[in-house]
Structures are given as C-alpha cells and as structure tokens.
C-alpha cells in the first residue's frame, strides 16, 4: 500500500494527456508528468520517504505539502535544501536525498 498518481483513465475530472518526464533520484530513474513537483513525482511513483533526520536518521517525506515544514528537502542538480513540494520537476533533474548526520562530539 502506497501513495500514487490517480490513473488518468479513472479520473472524473478528465485530464488531458500530458508530457512525460523523468528525473534521477539517488541514481535511479523515476518517471513523472510535466508540471508535477519533485514531491509529486516521488509520491506518484509510490515513494513515501526520502530524507533522513540528523538526530537519529529516521525517515521523512512530505508532511505539510505547501512549503512550510521543510521535511521534504532534497538536493536538486547540486543545490541542497530545495523543498521538493515547491519545486517543479524538469526532465533530467538530478535529485539526491539528504542526510546530514550530526558531528560526533569528542571529549
């Protein structure tokens, strides 16, 4: 059981066919539609989590979906801390999930 893109054939609002795009996520190709956000592409492909927290490495994905919680941040084409729910995906985007472990405290 996972999130997903509602199939166009079942959708009562009758969406037109739209252009496909694909992005690379941690080296894997993920397909989406033109106009989707990076978070939309990830959730649409069944992914629920991509970031790991600094404190204990626990998984995070989208929480607020409107750009205020920053849980969904990813690296896009070499630029870090991009909110996946706010950034439209572009064909060929290189997305890398973020994990910034806390520095070790030494005596």
């Amino acid at each position: 059981m996972s999130p997903g893109l509602f199939p166009r054939s079942e959708d009562g609002i009758r969406p037109a066919a739209s252009d496909a795009l694909s992005i690379s996520v941690d080296g894997k190709t993920v397909d989406g539609l033109a106009g989707q956000t990076i978070a939309g592409v990830l959730l649409g492909s069944g992914r629920l989590a991509w970031r790991k927290t600094s404190s204990d490495g626990s998984p995070r994905g989208v929480f607020c979906g409107i750009g205020v919680c920053f849980d969904c941040i990813v690296e896009v084409n070499g630029i870090r801390d991009v909110r996946a729910c706010q950034r439209r995906a572009r064909d060929g985007d290189q997305v890398i999930s973020q994990h910034d472990p806390l520095p070790e405290v030494t005596e």
């Binding site: 989208v62 607020c64 941040i73």
Partner: protein
Amino acid sequence: MTSVVIIGAGPAGLAAARAARARQAAVTLLDSSDEVGGQYWRHLPAERPAERESLLHHGWSTFLELREALEADPGCDIVTSAQVWAIERDANDSPVVHVLVGEPDGTDRSQLILTPDALVLATGAHDRTLPFPGWQLPGVFSAGAAQALAKGERVAVGRRVVVAGAGPFLLPVAAALAQTGARVVGVFEASRVRGLMAGWLPQPHKLMGVAGKTGELAGYLLSHLHHRIPYRTGHAVVAAHGTDRVESVTVARVNADWSPIPGTERRIRADAVCVSHGFTPRLELAIAAGCNISADRFVTVDAAQRSTVPTVFAAGEITGIGGVDAALAEGTLAGHCAAGGSPTDPTVARHEKKRAVYVDFAARLERAHGIRRGWTAWLKNDTTICRCEDVSYETIRTTTEATCAVGLRSVKLTTRAGLGICQGRMCGRTLEDLAGRSAPGGLIDRVSTDRRPIAAPVRLGDLARAHDATAAIPTDSL
C-alpha cells in the same frame, strides 16, 4: 497614481487586486507559487489541463473570472514565483518589501525591492497539527498536504486513508481524497456533538447570510454519503504505528476537553493519516511590517482592513479564520481602501455586509472546533514535539520545570525546540501551549514564535547581492 503591492494571490489577494484596480491604482500582485489561486484554489498546472477541473473546487468560476480580468489588465503586474523574504520600515514607517523572484529555493533569483504607497497582506494560513505519538512517521500528513497533492497533482497520499482533527476543513479534504481514488476509512472530528451544537446552533438567523458556505458544506456531506465515508464526532487519532512508515492508527473517543477516554481505543489499518486541528495564520510579514497582533493572534484591522500601520492593510485568514467568502469580502475592502477608497463607499457596501456575517461565522467555528486543553493527555514522554530537532515532550516538560522558564525564548534555547529548519512553523503554537502551562502567570514573550525577520530561507549569495542592491538606495530612505 497610488501604487499598491499585494502579497498573496489567494482569494483575498485576488479580490484586493481587482478592487484596487477598480480605483485605478497601479497594482503589483506577488505570490510565492508559480500559479495564482492560493491554497484554496490550488489547481493543476497549465501543462496538465483537465476538462472538468471545476469538480475539484468551489467558486471555480469566481477564480477564473478574477484571474482572467487581472491577467488581461496592464495596470496589474502579477509576479509569481516571488518570495517575499523580508519587510523593513522606512523613516515614515512605510514598508520596504524585499522579494526574490525565481525557482523556489533556487540560486539565481532576481531581486525586487518595492516601496509602495500601500501594502496589502493576504498571506493566508497553514494547517495546525497537534502532535501525537508517531506523527513523525512517513505517511502522516497535514490535511492540507493531502488536499494540495490531490488538487495540484492528482496524487493520493495513500490507498486507505484516515482523516482526523477538528473543523469543517476535514470534509473537503476527505472529499478530495475520495475524488483522487483513495479509500477514506473514516473522518474523526474531535469536537463532540454538544460542542458542535453550542457553536453552530444559537441564533441561527445570523447564519442566513452564509448560505453559500452552508451549500458548500452540504455538498461535501453528499459526497461523503456517495463515497460511504464514515464521519465520527468526539473521536481523535491518538497514535500512529509503524517502523519506517504508518501501518495503522489508534482512534479513541475523547471527552469534551479532548482528553482520550481510556478503554475506547481501537486500531484501524491505514497507509496514510491526514490530520489538521485548525489553522495558524502566517503572521511573520505582518509582524515585520509593524502591525499590531491581537491577543488571539490575528492582525488587528479597522473597518477599512487597515492595520495599526497606516499604509499596511490585511485581509483573509491572517485577520481571522473565516473561509473563502470572508476572504473575498475582506480582500475587496482592503484593496479598495488601500487605493484611497472608504469602507462606506456604496460600491463596496455589499462586501461590508458580507464581512459582518462572516465575523460571526469565524466565532462559531472557534466555539465549535477550537482546540481544547485536554489534548495533551494523548502525549507520551517520548512523543516528538519539534519535528525538525526531534525534541520530545518529556524534554520540553522537564526542562521547562527545571529552569522555571517564563519565556519562550529560554525554552527554545534550552531544548532547541522551534529552532530547526521550519523555524517553529509546525511546533511553535504547541510549544507556547506546553511551556505556558508550567509558567506561573503564563509566558512573557507570547508573540515570538511568529516573529521571523527573515521570512523565508535565503542563500548567502542572494543575501550578499541583496546588500549590494540595498546599498544603491540612499540610506535615509530606509
């Protein structure tokens, strides 16, 4: 000619733009998104047109009319992907608006510095979600996220979805999920029937003016019947379970104060849970502009929607959670008055009347669905309160008690709660609630979680270039 800058292109901002243009003001309408409409009219992008998009919206034709009129109007400059990251005040207390335009969180955004004759703030609100054990698991969403993804992407956040929290917003969220192919296994409203009646039933004649709203709610209820979505009052999601993602939730009956009733818990299998306990207005820009904020934490405005700063107006959810019709009425009045009009002008009389009705509606909403004190009874010691910094309930409680904290600043600095990347947007109100309970006489610095002089993250390169751009302006004008 009067220049008016409007921040936020949701219902209030769009209405303000049209009203200001009706008085021939030069209007600049800013929105951080690349589409106008705000969260209420969040829609599919131009690349993905749908024949019957209107099925996902209420007042869709109102939106299309507003958008078309403003887009065709050379006197209205619509700037999308425009992130207002700071507001300063010049020597006359007038706002200086700093904007970055370009891809969200990008590196090559262009600078805009605006010094309008009048500013209209229509920044809206976001969900407020109370913490509960397991709410940090992937698969737990704010109700707004589920709606935004359904309306803006046609993505369902799960297949078997629980919707929970408080307020009429839960209904359109469940409807949007059902229209996106998800099975909504239940909607759980924390308020009990008696509380709902106390809020909604007295003096029903006052609700006559909100026929549009009643129709909207009736539409959602019909949709629920159609999709066979169970709706339960007096129930709350008190825990989410799973290791790396949500697998099930515990739902319990709650008392009138929202404390769970022991022995009523039951597990429900779900792969997503969408929770909202109301809304938090987005106040940082209003605070930066110097506007007074009321005790119940909204921007204080007069009959002209004018804040305590004479050149700054406010409309929509930042002046009270009243919904789309209130936002349209307030926006119209704000735009009209920002452009030099008066709230008593006959051209806006209709909107003035409407606004009065919705002030009553907002008060009922709060009485019926407002957060009750007993919710903390569902917290466990290890429940995450601050999602960014992973600060637990126990840490906040014991630290607050041990340090006898009376100010939020000290609680934040000693626990790190509210200091993470979201800057307290998710946990700030909760922190105030929790810390305020153990501070004798309450907290001394209540407004501080909404004070964010840098209103959005800015890259250091942009900041350096912003400094260069500011240096070009004579300093005595800042």
